[in-house]
Point group: C2
Chain length 376, copies 2
């Protein structure tokens, strides 16, 4: 982790500091022009450049090398879309949001504290969130569900807040499982301060994650953006307890927008801490669950193949377009092939083939195997 | 109540004793031939007669006059489809069941104890049912919901069992509201015996009801048949607590079959007494509710007119057939008309017009007003 950061990583770190959060247009510019080029344009401050003018006020904040170096000394690093461990699959959902604002995009890059690989932790992950004012019942049920999921190999993702979040992290730690805390501030800032020890323990067996550069302080809008990352890095989100108006409902709404199952735990109708959960269940926004097994049933559905999905599949096949259609057509009817084979058959550059394959896999058309890729 | 029963009421009482429950074929025979004729046929024991042979074993049990007389002395009576207070509207649902067995029909007649009119009590009624092994939480929530509904003028219908049922009846009595107990035995038999006083109090301000003649003892199949009457006489059914396998789910299933809203109260996922409710909510069999206001919202929807209902309405109109279609066509575009007017226009006997009108009203096509009937 202490090797000298390369030029591209410095550019990502610089843009992360300048942007202070996600920007769909900035991501699009990077996709189109390259991260070095966009960073240079903003740094140069050319008034004719859209991003330069937009980020002019922070364009001089080139703390990237320092940030990477300081964070590296304590076991942190920056994970970027260039890296193998970038959770690309989890970020695909952002591409399908047609009503998203510019800030509701995928994170530019993720600052992480801990040595586990982010993509591996996010592979089988469940978000468990809820009110800071959890009841004894809420903390008990959180611990049961989180502990059982973590013992079963699921990563428990939450926000390190008081109440349900902390109970979820602690139960996962307690069974020696993996847990990911996503912060609304820099990963070098323990927030809340009372959770300093818990966050350190999380960094030892899981990851502490933020899209904000080191030193960033928490702010209300960053908590909302953080909720979106909890939803994105989880295969499904469980709300254990939530008041009538609760941040947990925001996380749940993000999970829904990203096409992930949303679950809620019921409780006594006499308990204010369960009103938000009951409201979500009643309105059809969340499915009632009570145990880790229920959660696995719900999240497992994402991967299930049933008749409905087959029907969907046939319709979706007709709707494939662009690179995805060309790459899919390039597959042999049976057997494995490599991206290079496919690039040749399809007459596409290899990087565009490699970009299309995970999307085809997400849609269930192809799968990756030890011997390469094949049609499902 | 002590006037001499007429010949038709004696025939209904006789058939109630002979049939010992509902029979769709017996009801159909009565509709077609008349109650006196069917009673005479069974009484005569003619071997060529379907019903005579089926009911031969009980054909000699002509205790009708005795039953009516004895029950009348303590404030009971037999309500039959001949009577104005027969809850005809509530029984219509049985006509639309295409998978019902012979015993899953409307009751032939209803034995009642108490002086209130059955149709008035059933007009705004909610069934509140649940496990005999209710928790303290379950009894508390039952009492809250039942008391609030009864205070708001709703009749609370239940089965007089221990646990949730008793809490529902008692809360309604406690606010001076109306409550109906439906028994799986004769209304002269207090069952369970521990509820003798409660049943007497119910008879004083509401009604104790059974489709079984006086003297009938409880039996397992009668409890299931009783559940169907709770559902039929209620505009919606609430399950407060129910174990994983529970009689209350049977009542809820009947409410669903009859097209009534089914509601369930959540509780702690750690409580066995809430597992059946959670299961129903999770499976989409019941809607989560927590208060009397929620119940009124759900039951009120039956009467609401919204866009969905309008769309449904247009489709349903295309599907009208038989007398209902002819009567609907006979209406003028605007203004009121009488059944006699409609009979003339439609070229149908007046009694068939009068039978079709409540069904058209149920479907929302027409409504009765002070000045007669009109299209909605």
């Amino acid at each position: 982790m202490n090797e000298k950061p390369d030029e591209r990583r410095l550019a990502w770190a610089y843009l992360s500091t300048v942007a202070q959060g996600a920007s769909r247009s900035l991501s699009a510019a990077i996709d189109a022009c390259g991260v070095l080029e966009v960073a240079a344009a903003i740094r140069s401050g050319s008034p004719r450049d859209e991003f330069a003018s937009r980020y002019a006020v922070r364009a001089h904040l080139d703390t990237a090398a320092d940030d990477l170096e300081r964070l590296g000394r304590v076991g942190g690093r920056l994970v970027t879309p260039d890296d193998d461990e970038w959770p690309a699959w989890q970020m695909l959902g952002f591409g399908t949001l047609d009503t998203a604002t510019d800030a509701e995009g995928p994170p530019l890059a993720l600052w992480v504290w801990g040595s586990r690989r982010l993509d591996e932790l996010a592979e089988r992950a469940v978000g468990i969130v809820g009110t800071r004012a959890a009841s004894g019942y809420g903390e008990h049920v959180t611990a049961e569900i989180s502990g059982d999921l973590a013992a079963d190999g699921w990563t428990v993702v939450s926000g390190a807040a008081f109440g349900v979040d902390a109970a979820a992290h602690r139960a996962a730690l307690g069974v020696g499982g993996a847990t990911v805390a996503i912060l609304a501030c820099g990963v070098d800032r323990a927030y809340p301060a009372a959770h300093t020890t818990m966050l350190r323990r999380i960094s030892e067996s899981g990851l502490v994650v933020s899209e904000y550069p080191p030193g960033t302080t928490p702010a209300r809008y960053r908590f909302l953006a953080r909720n979106r990352l909890i939803a994105a890095l989880s295969g499904g989100t469980v709300v254990v307890e939530a008041g009538w108006r609760s941040g947990a409902r925001n996380t749940a709404a993000w999970a829904r927008r990203l096409g992930r199952p949303v679950m809620a735990v019921p409780g006594p109708v006499t308990s204010a801490a369960s009103q938000g959960c009951h409201r979500m269940i009643r309105e059809g926004e969340a499915r009632l669950i009570g145990t880790a097994r229920d959660v696995v049933d719900e999240c497992g559905k994402l991967l299930e193949r049933d008749d409905d999905r087959d029907a969907h599949f046939t319709r979706a096949l007709d709707g494939l377009s662009g690179d995805m259609a060309m790459v899919y057509e390039a597959f042999p009817g049976t057997g494995n092939c490599s991206p290079t084979d496919l690039a040749e058959s399809a007459g596409l550059p290899a990087d565009r083939v490699r970009a299309a394959l995970p999307m085809l896999e997400l849609e269930g058309f192809v799968e990756s195997t030890d011997g390469g890729w094949r049609r499902t």
